[in-house]
Symmetry: C2
Subunit: 349 residues, 2 copies
C-alpha cells in the first residue's frame, strides 16, 4: 500500500496520456475518472488500468485523438459514435450530452457505439447527480456469463449505475454488474484455493459449481438472480448496442485480454432533470426523508450498519480528500511499472 | 382448472367494472390488461385480482371514474397524477403518454403519482414494443424487503419490466421484482411445509432463514443479489415516487391486505422510439441476429432449453389464442365468487 493525493495521481495520469498522444483536455477527463474512481475505493476500475489503456493506444486499438461524434440527434436523444476513443473521454462527453438534452427536454438519452472499456459506470451517473439530475449509465461488455439453460460465456455482465442527489446526504449511487459476483472475487478464491457459493459460476457443462478453478477455463459467470440478471444484461445490449447500431456482447472482445483488438463497447446514458420535472426543494426534502427512513430502520442481529448505495464509497472519498488515496499493492505495482517505462515520476506521500 | 377465451374473459371483466361505476373505455383497458396477463400465463397478476380491485372501489379506496391528469409537461417528460384511478387505466394512459412524447422527442418519460397496484409491469412495456419502441415500466410497492444490514420490511420489491421488438422473433420482454423470489413461492413452501433457499427470506432478527414460516410473521423478503436488488428498488422509488412527488415505499399500504386504504403507488414509464434513434431495419436485423446467437448457444447438461425473456409467456399466449386460457383453480374460484356476488355470467368453454 502507498498513498498519493488525488491531485498528484491525476498529474501523473495526464502526463502519461499526453506522452501517448492525447490532448491535455481529454487527458484531464480520463485522469479525473480514473483517479476519482480510486478515491471512492474502487481500485479494480481506476488508475490500475491506465497502463493497459496506454498499451492499447500503442498497439493501435484505442485512438487517443478520437473525438466522439453526434451522428443523429433529436430533442431528447443523441446517437454518438466514439470512433474508438478512450472510454472515459467518450463516456464523460456522452453523459454531458445526455445532460444537455435533459436541460432542454427534461430527459436526455445518449446511445453510443465504438467506444472502449469505460471503467466505473458510477462516475458518469454521478456527473448527473452533481448537476441536480438523476443519472443512469451503462455499458455492454464482452460475453462472460452463461444464460439460463446454457453453458459457456454468451452474454456480458454489463454494468448499470445510477446516481441521484439529496440535500442533507451524499447522493445515492449504485454501480453494479449483472453477474452474481465480480470475476475478481472468483479469481481471488481461485488463488486462495477456497470454494465459492454455487450461485457464482457454472462449470464447462453449464452446471453450477463451487470450484473457482472453472473461471477462465471454460466456465462462465452466473447472472445475478438467474433470469433477472440475464434479462437485464440484454436490456443493456438493447439500449447501448442495438439502439446505437454498435456492437453487442457477442462482437465485443475483452478490452484487456484481447488488447490488440478494438473494444467496440457500446454505452448508454440517461439524465433526468429534477428541477424541470419536480420542484427541486420538494424532491430534496423527500429524498432526505427517504434516506433517513432507511438509515434509521431496525438493524439485523450482528449488523455492521445500514448503508445507502454509495455511502461507503463517498465516505472513503472524503477520507482520501484529507489524507490521500491509500492505493492497494496491485495498483501501486501497475502505476510504478508505467512510471518506469515512461520515465514519469509518481509523487507518493 | 377451467378454460375461457380471452374475449369472453374480457367481456366478464368489462361488465363487472361497468357495474361498479367505470366507463366502458376504461373498463375495456382494465380488462385488456388483466385478461392479457392471464393469457401470458401470469395468473397471480391477472383477473384473479379483479374481485379485490372491485372491493377496493366499493370501500372508496379506488376511484373507478378518476382520470389520470398531466400536471406538468416538457418535450420529453410528463408528470402525471392518477387521482387514485384503477392502476391499469392509469398505467396504460401513462405509457401511452410516454410513447407520444417519444414520437416527438425520441424518448419519453412519465412519472406518475397517486395510482394503485398496476398488475403486471410487462403489459405496459409491451405496449411500446408493439409500436416499434423499447418500453420500460416500473412501480414502487409497499415495503416487503429487508435492506442489507437491516431487519423487517423497509423497501418494496418494486417490479421493473422492459420490452423490445424484433422482426423474426417475439419481442424480448422481462418482468421482474427486485426480491430474490416472489412472495407467492415462499407462501407455497409455507403451505407445503418445505424449506426454502436461505437467500429468499430473513427472520425476525434479519438473519437469512430457510424457514418459510417467517413470511408474514415478522420476516422480510431478501433483495435479489443482496445490495443489487436493494439499490435497484431505490431507483424505482426515485424515478416513480420521488420525481413525481408521490408516495415512496414507506408510505404505501399493501393494495390488498390494507384494502380500505388508498394505495398511492407511484409508477414510471419510459419509451424509446427505435425508428427515430436508429434505422428500423438495421435495428430489427441486429435484434434478430442477437436473439439467434443466444438461442443457438450451447446448452447446459440437462438443460430444458434456452429461452429469451418473455419467450415462454408469448408461447402460452399463442396457445391460449387457439384453445382458450387455462385458468388455474385460484383464479377460477376468485372469478366465480365475483360472478356469484354480481349476478354476472362467466362463459366457460
Amino acid at each position: 500500500m502507498k498513498t498519493i493525493t488525488e491531485k498528484d495521481l491525476k498529474v501523473f495520469c495526464v502526463s502519461a496520456l499526453v506522452q501517448n498522444g492525447m490532448n491535455e483536455q481529454d487527458a484531464a477527463i480520463t485522469a479525473d475518472v480514473l483517479a476519482g474512481t480510486d478515491a471512492l475505493g474502487c481500485f479494480s476500475h481506476g488508475t490500475k488500468n491506465l497502463r493497459m489503456y496506454i498499451e492499447k493506444i500503442k498497439v493501435g486499438a484505442l485512438d487517443p485523438k478520437a473525438q466522439p461524434e453526434v451522428v443523429k440527434e433529436g430533442p431528447a436523444f443523441a446517437l454518438m459514435d466514439a470512433h474508438d476513443a478512450m472510454g472515459m473521454v467518450a463516456s464523460v462527453k456522452g453523459m454531458a450530452k445526455a445532460m444537455d438534452l435533459a436541460k432542454k427536454s427534461g430527459v436526455g438519452f445518449v446511445t453510443m457505439k465504438n467506444s472502449c472499456h469505460f471503467g466505473a459506470a458510477g462516475y458518469y451517473a454521478n456527473m448527473a447527480a452533481e448537476q441536480g439530475m438523476v443519472g443512469i449509465a451503462m455499458s455492454n461488455t464482452d460475453p462472460n456469463m452463461a444464460v439460463p439453460g446454457g453453458k459457456s460465456m454468451v452474454v456480458g455482465n454489463s454494468p448499470i449505475a445510477y446516481a441521484a442527489p439529496a440535500k442533507g446526504h451524499d447522493p445515492v449511487m449504485l454501480d453494479i454488474a449483472m453477474s452474481a459476483t465480480a470475476a475478481l472475487k472468483i479469481n481471488q478464491a481461485k488463488i486462495d484455493k477456497k470454494p465459492i457459493p454455487d450461485t457464482w459460476l457454472v462449470d464447462t457443462d453449464g452446471v453450477p459449481t463451487s470450484d473457482p478453478g472453472f473461471y477462465g477455463t471454460g466456465g462462465a459467470l452466473q447472472p445475478m438472480g438467474a433470469h433477472k440478471g440475464y434479462g437485464l444484461s440484454i436490456l443493456v445490449d438493447i439500449l447501448s448496442g442495438l439502439l446505437s447500431g454498435g456492437a453487442t456482447s457477442k462482437d465485443i472482445p475483452s478490452w484487456c485480454f484481447e488488447l490488440e483488438e478494438k473494444n467496440k463497447a457500446s454505452h448508454a446514458f440517461l439524465a433526468f432533470d429534477i428541477g424541470a420535472i419536480q420542484t427541486k426543494d420538494e424532491y430534496e426534502n423527500a429524498m432526505d426523508a427517504y434516506i433517513d427512513n432507511i438509515k434509521q430502520s431496525p438493524k439485523a442481529k450482528g449488523s455492521g450498519g445500514i448503508y445507502m448505495p454509495g455511502e461507503i464509497e463517498f465516505s472513503k472519498k472524503k477520507k482520501a480528500d484529507k489524507t490521500g488515496i491509500p492505493l492497494t499493492d496491485d495498483v501501486v505495482q501497475s502505476l510504478e511499472q508505467l512510471a518506469n517505462s515512461s520515465g514519469l515520476k509518481l509523487n507518493w506521500k
